[in-house]
């Protein structure tokens, strides 16, 4: 009883918080599940509502009603606008749409700060509700109780529309088969617009009503987006009830969890998500156990493949890394003219990079070093997005692990560069191995969602875990890295740059080697035709996990490099914006081009720091504009400009059905000619 007594208020707060999240997450889930748009600007729609509500709130019922009407309408219009903006990209798949909304979120966030200022706006609830009521002997704000009632009504209304009305049936039908919906005389485009407008209205209404709970401020969009993503990931897209329970659970973790176990609270959300994802992958994919555990020896398919490849059976079903070791077994293609043409940009780039210290001033050189670190992060994103088909927004997590590992190693006196790099890569790889199962169970845009949640949660942990990360202040003053054993600590910018260049060149060369080897082909095959890969006996899940671990290690190297080059580390260096940078770099470069990713990273760092001088404080806005422009203008990135001669597989565009997938092994179609 005492326990109940002490935690009643946080528990009720958790319900209010959870219901708020439910209304927001329901919109997100609706837009993704039925219109196919992973709306990364959903938090911005909430913020629009919250700012409007706060601006119009004056302590009267009229103010609240006006705010509710205006905030809902504004977010609704923004949602409809989003539908118009994403519709031309519909053929290019979900990733392009998600990227566009990401850019719009950056732009929207900047504009909101422009209009409403960078401070949190105060919200005045109607006076009648600005009191407290007695709840089992405790005082509790009346507004929150009222909010609980309103949110329940809103949720019930939304659920009723979706499940009981003809409109709701049309929405569900559109999610299932838009063509057939059109064949029954309903315009799928209208449904698309309606869904996004309704999702916007939900977010806007939640923003107005929830402003006293999650108030409007610069971090609101991101916070709300992260929490609602976690809710959607936990609840899945299948049922509103699951979303509801997930939302309340997250709400309770955020309130009751903090009150019961304050020191554990930051990790609770992470732990809950990991647990649910792992459990669900156990139960939802019973077939998964089958493809993961194939015996290498007696499997007839493996034997056949072994015979066809001219080597003994039993070694066929090993992981991609073993493919790298034995790559000479596959006759290496001789570098022809085309290969030189492909390698030319690489060589030019290398020459330019080597010459840079002679051309630039010290400040620019240190920027170039950071760009290399960011470039490695971008390359790791390319591996996952372009090759493994796992578009990721969460590579800042292993990046952060590597970065903090290096900073702490240096602090403890381990200043030898290679040691730092290897240990950081190892730490990041372990991290990637731990979260990997949660990532690789999903495909396509869902991965974007899960990885974003992982990245954001890692960021939250970084802010909390002050003993290791220094919290929001970051780490500074650790000894400089020594390039080799017995050397001096590197302090000169050009020294650091050369170190970074060597590390980057070695890492990129290794990556290219692996990606062009059969191991890379296995990944490409998995991305192109996963079912066929499974059917020909490949443990697809294992390949993806290995790819995820390798990409994590690479990101860890990038993180380590960044710390070495800039010699301080703050949470912003591994935050949301960096995740956006990395993905943008990949998009600019073309999702399957390693060199494109490096160039993209360079371009972004240059743009960011040039413009930072002339137009301070508008980094996100420019980044957003760059994002939007890239998505519309360069559908295949810089690599697309070269007429499709990029080093990797074609593009992220959906493959036409008649074109055979790039199967790396003889396909079972061999039965045609016995």
């Amino acid at each position: 009883m005492e326990l109940l007594d002490a935690h009643l208020i946080p528990a009720v707060d958790g319900v209010a918080f959870g219901l708020l999240l439910f209304v927001v997450a329901a919109g997100l889930s609706l837009a993704f599940g039925t219109a196919g748009v992973l709306n990364l600007s959903h938090g911005t729609l909430y913020a629009i509502g919250a700012y409007t509500g706060a601006e119009l709130s004056d302590g009267t019922w009229g103010g609240l009603a006006l705010g509710l009407a205006a905030g809902t309408a504004a977010a609704c219009v923004a949602g409809a606008g989003l539908s118009a903006a994403t519709a031309p990209l519909a053929r290019r798949g979900h990733l392009a749409q998600a990227l566009l909304t990401f850019g719009l979120a950056l732009i929207g966030g900047d504009l909101l700060i422009q209009f409403f200022g960078a401070d949190e706006l105060p919200v005045r609830v109607p006076e009648a509700l600005d009191s407290s009521v007695t709840l089992l002997g405790h005082r509790y704000p009346a507004y929150r109780l009222c909010f609980i009632v309103m949110a329940v009504l809103l949720a019930a209304f939304g659920t009723w529309v979706l499940t009981r009305t003809r409109m709701g049936a049309a929405v569900r039908a559109a999610a299932d088969d838009p063509q057939m919906l059109a064949a029954t005389g309903h315009s799928p485009r209208a449904v698309h617009t309606g869904v996004l407008a309704a999702a916007g209205a939900l977010a806007g209404a939640a923003g107005v009503l929830g402003a006293p709970i999650i108030g409007p401020g610069p971090g609101t969009s991101e916070n709300v987006l992260m929490l609602s993503l976690v809710v959607v990931v936990l609840g899945g897209l299948r049922s509103l009830w699951a979303t509801f329970f997930a939302a309340v659970a997250v709400g309770e973790v955020q309130t009751l969890g903090v009150s019961v176990a304050p020191e554990l609270a930051p990790y609770l959300l992470f732990a809950a998500m990991a647990a649910v994802l792992v459990l669900r992958s156990r139960f939802a994919e019973p077939a998964g156990a089958g493809h993961g555990s194939e015996a290498p020896g007696p499997d007839p398919v493996a034997r056949l493949r072994g015979l066809l490849a001219g080597r003994p059976a039993g070694r066929a079903a090993e992981g991609p890394l073993s493919g790298r070791k034995r790559s000479p077994v596959w006759p290496a293609r001789l570098p022809g003219r085309a290969a030189w043409w492909q390698a030319a940009p690489l060589l030019v780039l290398l020459v330019v990079l080597i010459a840079l210290p002679a051309l630039l001033d010290a400040y620019s050189i240190s920027l170039a070093g950071s760009a290399l670190a960011l470039g490695l992060l971008a390359v790791s994103v390319t591996i996952l997005t372009g090759y493994a088909g796992l578009p990721t927004l969460g590579q800042t997590a292993p990046f952060a692990v590597g970065a903090y590992a290096t900073a702490n190693l240096a602090d403890a006196g381990w200043t030898v560069g290679p040691v730092q790099l290897v240990l950081s890569a190892l730490a990041a790889a372990v991290f990637a191995a731990v979260v990997g199962p949660a990532v690789i169970r999903a495909r396509g845009t869902t991965v974007l969602m899960i990885t974003l949640a992982i990245g954001e949660l890692t960021g939250a942990v970084v802010n909390q875990l002050k003993s290791v990360t220094g919290g929001a202040d970051g780490l500074v003053g650790f000894p400089a890295t020594r390039a080799l054993w017995g050397g001096e600590g590197m302090l000169e910018e050009s020294e650091l740059y050369n170190y970074a260049l060597v590390v980057a060149v070695v890492s990129v060369a290794l990556t290219l080697l692996v990606l062009r080897s059969p191991a890379g082909k296995l990944l490409t095959g998995t991305r192109g035709a996963e079912a066929r890969m499974r059917a020909s006996g490949h443990p697809v899940g294992r390949y993806l996990l290995v790819a995820h671990i390798c990409a994590g290690a690479l990101a860890g190297v990038g993180g380590s490099l960044m710390v070495t080059v800039q010699q301080y580390l703050s949470p912003a260096d591994v935050g949301f914006e960096i995740a956006a940078f990395a993905l943008l770099a990949v998009v600019i470069g073309g999702t399957t081009s390693v060199i494109g990713a490096l160039l993209g990273a360079g371009l972004i760092v240059a743009t960011r720091d040039w413009v930072a001088g002339s137009w301070p404080g508008h980094g996100p806005l420019l980044l957003g504009v760059l994002f939007v422009a890239t998505v519309y203008v360069l559908p295949r990135g810089l690599a697309g400009l070269r007429g499709g001669s990029g080093g990797g597989p074609s593009s992220d565009a959906p493959r036409p059905p008649d074109q055979p997938p790039p199967a790396p092994t003889p396909s079972p179609a061999g039965k045609v000619s016995p």
């Binding site: 049936a169 569900r172 039908a173 299932d176 063509q179 064949a183 029954t184 036409p656």
Partner: protein, 242 residues
């Protein structure tokens, strides 16, 4: 009355349907027969507006509907029963019926017959027993009935049936054949696409053989029923020619 003139359509990779002329008067069945890859489904999709033709016209009772979006074509009175049924997985039978029910505009008396859920259930009583079941819980035959019901509830002038008997038991196949004849008798123009000449011969007034996207034979149903050798020859030729 459905009229196609010079209809040409294809995918990204190339043209599939080459200048097809075809007409289906109200109240008759026109069967299009051809092997896999002959362009039958492309034809149906182009007429239904799921694909945009690169040349040619589609006219519905004299009105040009070429290149209009699918939902407009559906509203103009073309009902589609697609290959593979494609019922909505998440919707119950009842929701299918409610969603598809689109009465003709008031004053529009040109529809051959007006359908309501009640009337559809009268024709397809099996669906009435499964009103609460989701689309994917139904058997293949029931799904086919549901797909047909979905098309009928728009009170169509033209019905496009893409391999409606695919994968069904013989008793259901006969039932579908009987339904097709009944619907044509209501005054609906039926375009039936089938890989099997037997089905086409059984109920069509006119047959068209499609080979690699071109018409290679057209004959009347009576002639085909009297002597199927020409039809078989056309299809055999296709087999050896390919």
């Amino acid at each position: 009355m459905l009229e196609l003139t010079g209809l040409t359509a294809g995918y990204h990779g190339g043209t599939v349907l080459h200048g097809l002329d075809l007409s289906v008067p109200a109240g008759t069945v026109h069967a299009v027969v051809g092997h896999n890859g002959a362009g039958k489904t492309t034809l149906v999709h182009t007429v239904a507006g799921l694909m945009r033709p690169s040349a040619g016209t589609v006219r519905l009772d004299g009105r040009d509907v070429t290149g209009q979006p699918a939902h407009r074509i559906a509203r103009a009175g073309i009902g589609l029963v697609p290959q593979g049924r494609r019922v909505f997985a998440g919707l119950t039978v009842d929701e299918h019926l409610r969603l598809s029910h689109r009465p003709p505009r008031r004053g529009d008396t040109t529809r051959p017959s007006v359908w309501t859920p009640a009337r559809v259930l009268e024709l397809l009583p099996r669906l009435g027993e499964r009103r609460g079941n989701r689309g994917t819980d139904l058997s293949g035959g029931e799904q086919q009935m549901l797909a047909l019901a979905r098309a009928l509830l728009g009170s169509p002038r033209v019905l496009l049936l893409d391999e409606p008997t695919e994968g069904l038991a013989p008793v259901l196949v006969r039932q579908i054949d009987a339904l097709v004849t009944t619907l044509a008798a209501e005054g609906i123009a039926v375009l039936l696409v089938s890989p099997s000449p037997a089905r086409a011969v059984a109920c069509a007034r006119t047959l068209t053989v499609l080979t690699s996207g071109r018409m290679t034979l057209r004959l009347s149903g009576e002639d085909a029923r009297a002597d199927a050798t020409a039809l078989h020859a056309a299809l055999e030729l296709t087999a050896t020619g390919a």
